[in-house]
Subunit: 477 residues, 2 copies
Amino acid sequence: MESLKSKDRLDHKITLVHELLRKHRLTEQIVHNGDSPRKELLESILHRQNLVELEQKLKRMHTADLAHIIELLPPEDRLIVWSRVCDQCGGEILLEVSEAVRKNLVNDMSEDQIQSALRQMDGDDLAFIADDVPDAFLQMRLASLSSEEQDWILASLNYSEGTVGDLMSNEMVIVHETDTLGQAELHLRSLRELPIHNDKLFVIDLRGLFKGVLPLQSILLNEPDVRVADVMVTKVVRFAPYDDASDASMAFERYDLISAPVVNARGKLLGRLTVDVVMDYLRERSGDDVLNMAGVEKDEDLFSPLMDSVKNRGVWLVINLFTAFIASRVIGVFEDTIVQLVALAALMPIIASVGGNTGNQTSALIIRAMSKGQITDENTKHLFRKEVGVSAINGLMLGTAVGLFALVFYQDVALALVISVAMLLTLIVAAVLGMVVPVLINKSGRDPALGSSVILTATTDSIGFFIFLGLAALFLV
Amino acid sequence: MESLKSKDRLDHKITLVHELLRKHRLTEQIVHNGDSPRKELLESILHRQNLVELEQKLKRMHTADLAHIIELLPPEDRLIVWSRVCDQCGGEILLEVSEAVRKNLVNDMSEDQIQSALRQMDGDDLAFIADDVPDAFLQMRLASLSSEEQDWILASLNYSEGTVGDLMSNEMVIVHETDTLGQAELHLRSLRELPIHNDKLFVIDLRGLFKGVLPLQSILLNEPDVRVADVMVTKVVRFAPYDDASDASMAFERYDLISAPVVNARGKLLGRLTVDVVMDYLRERSGDDVLNMAGVEKDEDLFSPLMDSVKNRGVWLVINLFTAFIASRVIGVFEDTIVQLVALAALMPIIASVGGNTGNQTSALIIRAMSKGQITDENTKHLFRKEVGVSAINGLMLGTAVGLFALVFYQDVALALVISVAMLLTLIVAAVLGMVVPVLINKSGRDPALGSSVILTATTDSIGFFIFLGLAALFLV
């Protein structure tokens, strides 16, 4: 029986695996460095003992836990664990891990192992994993399926990532509207195993058109001779295959759904979307905004190969470098002013830093509200006014503070006034940009978070320097 | 029947409400400015017509949609809509909206309205909402409940936010292990309405101790004379009331749960956790990291009162200001060097900007991995080496690029070399800080994202300036 606290239990397992791997590495080192043959033999036995113990522990774990542990292990340890569990439940684990890790694991598999993993998967699974396994193996596995299943997979592959069609499954229990509840119950009993999250049956008419759903409990709560059509629910949240998966996930949350029908434009029932898939999708994306804002593409895994990470992040750093060059040239224009009043050089990063963070605060709010579907054309104007208002008030306060700071260190009232005004203006511009940047990225059809922080801080830097040094050139020297 | 695309349908509703509100405001203005009494009467009728139309549209909407629309409306519009729907389904809407909006709505309610909304709530709802309604009203409502329900609410209030106990419900169907499936089915039929997400029944023994669960479908798939104890599932993921809610949400995702028992240390069944509550919790928190990194507390609503927002964000900006003062003083130390070589002033923000973003990339990865439970003491060392490696390679490339930039604009080989080396060193330090800052914030018991971006950019600024100007002072002047 599982212990009380699922979290502590999992943490315990993780520590155990780490511990066994550490022992394994230790004995491996001794084996390699061993000088006396006798010692070598002894250590080699120890070594094998550790691996056997590891294998036994792994065999007793839930595949979901195995997948989690495999994800958090560094590459070399990951492959040791993978080689122990791959034959037994490789298919399921491949389905659970993230895309980056999946590619890493597939690369390490023999042809036989890939084929055996694919044999553990059904049509939905194969469609889900299709992009990440060599095509030849996929074709071989497909050939062994029924033509019905093949059609389903080919249809699924047509839906692009992030659509409902891509996430839907064909495992569902279907009844006809003319059936009685007794017949529906008999049908259920005739199935050896029910699909996961089978909270309702799907009702179609003779032409295969979707008519409604029959909650499982209405079979239990009504008499067996009642007709399905009389108790089925027709007011149902349904999805079209090309609907956006993140909209669907919001609908699942809003209407507390467990499963929902996917219906095409002609009213034909195509498949079923379930809450577990929706939750995986939500979870998978839940940290994406954080990464995107900072300029990291989402499919970087913790232990992605070094050069993949370098390339992935380098792109945004190069963009960052070019925008920093622009900021640098803005300052370059004012070099004469700085030579005459070197205090400007020491003070200007304050403007840039606070400006950048103010912009980030606004854009973080907008990005979160966008991902919750809360931004409309109509409320943008109100938001705009509010954000500028908040920045103006903060600008007045922080402007005063930075003015006092300048006065203390440079005893120059004019300089203090200039930096106060520059801070106020920069913060107002930063708030405007903090709204405009994510909105523009979004309008360009990309994720509004993608690189927003990089673009934003670069722009506020240049503008902040220009405002501060420009005012200084006009009024101070 | 609901239309095909739930997202478009909702968007359409939102536009409609916006439109009616716009009309309403327009006629209201005309009414107030109207000069001829006849025109005034006419407009006033129009005015009332709009509100009636609005009210009719609102009445036909799902409460979850109403809650969503109320959240995205600016305050004045929000209260107009709220006053139209509050009497009818105010209780449900209050439960759906975010905390900040809930407080805003409660402030606008009359005493009668609050009491009527509370009457629409059951014990779980009242416990959930307790912090956001005036205590007197809550007490009044509590007094009208059974002593059993009262005990439940008081117990619930003891669990702090973010624990399983805070999210669990007491609505569940319980059977005894000695019952037969036929008796269990009879028990189900005797209930007029089943709890939401009732995918399984909970099995207890005579002492009330939790023994296992009975999936709904095992009643359908087995004969009625089979004993519950013989078909119940005993290997069940269960939670303790003080378990962390985010750990529980990961377990729900990992093991594809719909509902799970909450059991205390003595093995007594306390309540039930369901997937809808877990999803709400996930969703509610899904944008928190983005906000926290930028220094915005999570309970800021899009249209929070201006001064609340000023205070909320000002705190982090003040921290930011102090750290910027430090960076400014670092530069101040090198003012003599800058006067001799003013190019330093123009170049130094490049180092600070790229350094800040490099640190942010690393910390974003770490923060996401932390929130997915992927960081362990054992893999931190590997991660550390990898992150430093990525930064070193990027530092070499970007350092070369910035060196060439310096060479082009200032024709100074020594300066170009100094800035190249400074870039490399700063990026390595930034990667180290990008790992250390979230880990330290996390160790201090706070959300690792909270203010990480503010702290990080400030630190990389100071260190970057110090490295660059320090090297320049040593080798260039």
